[in-house]
Symmetry: C2
Subunit: 205 residues, 2 copies
């Protein structure tokens, strides 16, 4: 369904050395902008620095989106992904850690940039974190069994506070190309949102 | 449930004149970073400009998140919101336009920053757009009838292409404090995701 470029580990390393520090700096800038009470002069100075940075990056512009590449051993390297893209400053990033072949979790700290109701995570981002995790577990981290969301249902028990969060997911059963999977999101006081998903395997082996 | 600061229209205008251009510049920077093929020297020059901008903004730092304020006539001004915050560079922003008291839509162009599968919108961001719209319509744009997501169920018909998108939502029925509302997301080829939501009114009149 998707086409992926294959890139050697060395080439991936070159790109990561070049762009990872840039992406980190933009993440820091976003955080600084969301917490600043700077007056006009500092804001104007900051804006000038940002505009000149953007101009430097635009000297060599390519169209389209960044997508992902594969390495020769089949590992996927996400560049543009909103959840975990190495080059996407909007990605916290969400890092999926496996607790077994059918279970995984994400530990992430989400601050001011992800706000919905004051002091709380945007309800839609609760959905995004859970969709991202459920999709990854349904795909079992392999490009060979990539799964797409069929349906996902979310139940909000209470608002999720900004700060340290954990999302967990586990495959409940598999029927042919259908994977049924459940998960939940928790803040420091416990579970806030539960999810049930049906994912469809797009291609196999 | 939430406390909001009241701010005069003049004070809102002062803040918008100060920070709107900064937020726009950061959005432009994010776009430039996601489309650059710059080599090391331009990337390093950009990074230096970004780091000095962040330092200027940090000279006057306040903790917490930006939340929203109200104006004396009860209109809400979203500053930090991930969907529509005026000061949140991650917000496209999502602008809700009403087609009647119970119907509304969002027209938005979403590019590389919102990618999931290559060239397509992150499935979780489809959920975010729909949650944002359904929540706004359920609240009918008023702080007096603010609604929170109870449940939302999303059905993905096919991947959503990056580019121009439209989300629509309409209230189906109201039972006491429960608002049942449906919506869908479409790319230029038609509907991609449908949603059914149950929202709960938190306080009224």
């Amino acid at each position: 369904m998707w086409d992926f470029e294959v890139m050697s580990d060395d080439d991936v390393a070159v790109l990561r050395r070049r762009y990872d520090p840039l992406t980190d700096s933009i993440r820091e800038l976003i955080d600084a902008a969301l917490h600043t009470a700077a007056a006009d002069d500092d804001v104007q100075q900051a804006k000038a620095g940002i505009d000149s940075a953007a101009a430097a990056l635009r000297r060599n512009r390519r169209e389209g989106s960044l997508g992902m590449t594969l390495t020769p051993d089949g590992a996927s390297v996400p560049w543009g992904n909103l959840g975990n893209g190495l080059r996407n400053p909007l990605a916290p990033p969400l890092v999926v850690e496996y607790d077994g072949p059918t279970r995984a979790h994400i530990d992430v700290e989400l601050g001011a940039a992800y706000e919905g109701p004051p002091g709380h995570l945007h309800g839609g981002y609760c959905a995004l974190v859970l969709d991202h995790l459920l999709g990854e577990v349904a795909s079992r981290g392999s490009i060979e069994t990539m799964a797409a969301t069929g349906t996902i249902s979310l139940r909000y028990q209470r608002p999720t506070r900004l700060g340290r969060l954990r999302a967990e997911a586990e495959i409940e059963r598999v029927e042919g190309r259908k994977i049924f999977i459940a998960g939940q999101l928790a803040d420091e006081d416990g579970t806030t949102v539960t999810a049930e998903g049906l994912f469809i395997i797009l291609r196999q082996g």
